[in-house]
């Protein structure tokens, strides 16, 4: 005991364990939902391509095609917008699309081909549903954001209480009692995943809370320090806008991009912002990523004739500004290419497993929880299953939100019943395999005759591979580990009594 840090005295450990189980039970299901959807949402750009595989893809563009695209987009609008975005092709999303907001905040977006002609409007309902599920749990945006932000803070609380509830942290760093009782196995799985993933998961908690609660604190900060002027607060944090005069005429994109390559040769432009287009106060801003930097972008400003007007200071301004602007890439793993996304997927699945096993540990020792254990088990399997059903349903023209919600209820009931009836888990895995296999099959059916880009083929193959792995798992069956038979016996006893 004397070897242990004073941090871990008996009273602290007891209080932390109570807090950990209370918070875990209160919020485990919502956290699980956010973690699973977040793991999938990391690939949102790839799924955008998957849902619209026929959009022309290219990396090269020139001044003429950009001007043509902007002109064509403006023709679709009743009045020139205050701000027009031209999202440039990147390695992960090699397409150009234009977006603008009108006075009523209605968004108009178009994909364009290499000549600048409008091709189609973005339409990726499943990907949007998954992103919205992660961002605001499909609730009204403000309320949902506050709830998910709160879940981020709750995740931090669970991490801190879990850490302080673990006195033998160093001794147990690699302990996994695979062949022991079900409770010990689940407990070890929970603890080992959590201890090693702690810094990453804490980072996710803090950044997630930042997204959700930034609105609340912006309102409070504006009230406290800026006479309730929220725009002044935002301008102070992210840098103020600038105004140009006598800046009419045609925009010289080519010159601006050439100037940028001279000012910052390592910068990679990702989108253009055209302010007050068609007026004397036009301003061209080029957002560009910088190598080895987590800031979402630096924004370089240009006169319409291509003369540089300075940068916003997002990458070289005050430290706080740089930190605030780095949160997005850090949270969503959008840096370093596909490998970073894959690793974020693994870490996200790890966090989802921590949520699932945490509640499992509590349920194994819960008295008279005959209905809760199958319900939780059903929910854990139903969430990925419902996302899969929603993907197929969306490809067939259904509403992904409706399909997801209804299939979540049905699959939870079905998987829960399978567990409650003490049927083999291979049925659950078999159904999940069928759901996963249906996704690429529906995709091929929906887009037959389309020439798919490599990324889309890889996504379909990944789904097929996952389905095959699940089939093999179902065929191999599950050998109940020591203690699992005992749990089933307890379940039986509960049922008979």
């Amino acid at each position: 005991m004397s070897k242990r840090l004073r941090l871990w005295n008996t009273a602290t450990v007891k209080a932390m364990r109570i807090s950990h189980s209370t918070l875990g039970l209160a919020l485990g299901a919502l956290l699980y939902l956010v973690c699973i959807s977040g793991s999938v949402a990391v690939f949102y750009e790839d799924f955008e391509r998957w849902e619209q595989p026929a959009i022309p893809e290219y990396q090269a563009y020139d001044d003429q095609s950009l001007s043509q695209a902007v002109d064509n987009h403006l023709q679709q609008l009743e009045a020139p917008p205050q701000t027009l975005y031209v999202v440039l092709p990147t390695e992960t999303l090699p397409r150009i699309h234009l977006a603008s907001l009108d006075e009523a905040d209605t968004s108009t977006e178009w994909y364009v081909n290499q000549s600048g002609d409008l091709v189609a409007q973005p339409h990726a309902p499943w990907q949007e549903m998954v992103t919205n599920l992660h961002n605001h749990l499909l609730l009204p945006e403000t309320l949902g954001l506050i709830i998910t932000g709160s879940l981020g803070a709750a995740l931090c609380a669970l991490i801190i209480s879990g850490f302080l509830a673990h006195p033998s942290l160093i001794k147990d760093l690699f302990r996994f009692r695979k062949h022991r009782s079900s409770r010990l196995r689940q407990l070890d799985l929970h603890n080992r995943l959590a201890v090693w993933g702690l810094p990453f998961h804490l980072m996710m908690g803090v950044t997630g809370a930042f997204f959700g609660l930034v609105g609340v604190l912006a309102a409070s900060g504006a009230w406290l320090w800026y006479d309730n002027d929220r725009d002044a607060l935002i301008a102070d944090i992210y840098g103020p806008d600038i105004e140009t005069v006598d800046a009419g005429g045609t925009i010289n994109y080519d010159r601006a991009l050439q100037q940028l390559s001279q000012i910052e040769p390592d910068a990679t432009p990702i989108y253009l912002i055209i302010q007050n287009i068609g007026t004397d106060q036009q301003l061209l801003e080029v957002a560009a990523t910088l190598p080895q930097r987590l800031v979402f972008s630096e924004i370089y400003r240009f006169h319409p004739d291509g003369t540089p007007l300075g940068n916003q200071g997002l990458a070289d301004g005050p430290g706080g500004r740089q930190v605030a602007y780095s949160v997005y890439r850090l949270h969503f793993g959008h840096f370093g290419g596909i490998w970073t996304k894959l690793i974020y997927l693994v870490m996200g699945i790890g966090l989802s497993l921590i949520c699932a096993t945490g509640i499992n540990v509590w349920l194994i020792r819960a008295p008279r929880a005959t209905w809760l254990a199958p319900l939780w088990s059903g929910f854990v399997y139903a969430v990925p299953g419902s996302l899969g059903v929603a993907a197929s349903g969306s490809l067939l023209g259904g509403s992904p939100i409706l399909v997801f919600c209804s299939s979540l209820i049905m699959l939870t009931a079905l998987f829960g019943w399978i567990r409650f009836s003490a049927l083999s888990r291979r049925w659950t895995i078999g159904i999940l395999a069928a759901v996963t296999a249906a996704i690429p099959a529906t995709h091929l059916l929906s887009f037959s005759g389309t020439e798919f880009p490599l990324a889309v083929i890889v996504i379909n193959l990944s789904f097929a591979g996952m389905s095959l792995a699940l089939i093999l798992l179902a065929l191999r069956g599950f050998r109940p580990a020591r203690g699992e038979t005992a749990n089933l016996a307890v379940l039986d006893n509960h049922q008979t009594s």
């Binding site: 807090s19 209370t22 209160a26 160093i170 760093l173 996994f176 987590l294």
Partner: protein
């Protein structure tokens, strides 16, 4: 360079793994492992810069540790017979104390009551935390925007601590603590 970075982490993981056996932990090996882990961070920084390097280092440490824990069956062979016996005894005791039949119903009812109280007390703790963060940030020797950013990033952590208070204490003590913090925050802001 990536191979070098990963090898450095792998070496430190093996040292930590060897130093943390279930029967007795070897402090020297553990410390060497931690030292090697720190050295590998510097290697990641020099290769990928401090920002990407830190994230990659964190992630690869976790992934390698998970791989060692769940894929390498070394633990069983290392465990001595004495330790195995102790573990089995502990497991029997664990099964006896943690089986549903032995679990106390009132204890679990208390847990659910706490869950309800935490859901009610959480928003109050949020208000208290926001007030504290804004009040504390006000006294920092930085410009206003920096103060706001510090308050924003501290909020989840301060709220997390408050949530632990709310969910881990008796309702009365939790409410009193949240009340005290809210008052302190309000006083700090109005001063």
């Amino acid at each position: 360079m990536l191979i070098g970075c990963l090898t450095a982490i792998a070496i430190s993981m093996v040292l930590l793994y060897a130093g943390s056996t279930p029967d007795e932990s070897d402090r020297l090996l553990t410390l060497t492992g931690l030292g090697a882990l720190t050295a590998s961070l510097i290697l990641w920084w020099t290769t990928y810069g401090p920002e990407f390097g830190s994230v990659y280092w964190l992630i690869s440490t976790a992934l390698l540790a998970w791989a060692l824990t769940f894929l390498v069956p070394l633990r069983n062979t290392k465990t001595s017979a004495k330790v195995a016996k102790t573990e089995q005894r502990a497991e029997r005791a664990d099964s006896a104390t943690h089986s549903p039949a032995q679990a106390e119903l009132p204890h679990h009812r208390r847990t659910w009551r706490r869950v309800g109280l935490s859901l009610l007390g959480g928003p109050l703790a949020l208000i208290a935390s926001a007030l504290i963060c804004l009040a504390a940030a006000r006294w920092l020797p930085f410009d206003t925007s920096a103060r706001w950013i510090i308050a924003t990033f501290c909020l989840p952590l301060v709220w997390a601590v408050q949530l632990i208070q709310v969910s881990g204490n008796t309702p009365r003590r939790a409410l009193v603590t949240a009340g005290i913090f809210s008052t302190l925050g309000l006083v700090g802001i109005t001063l």
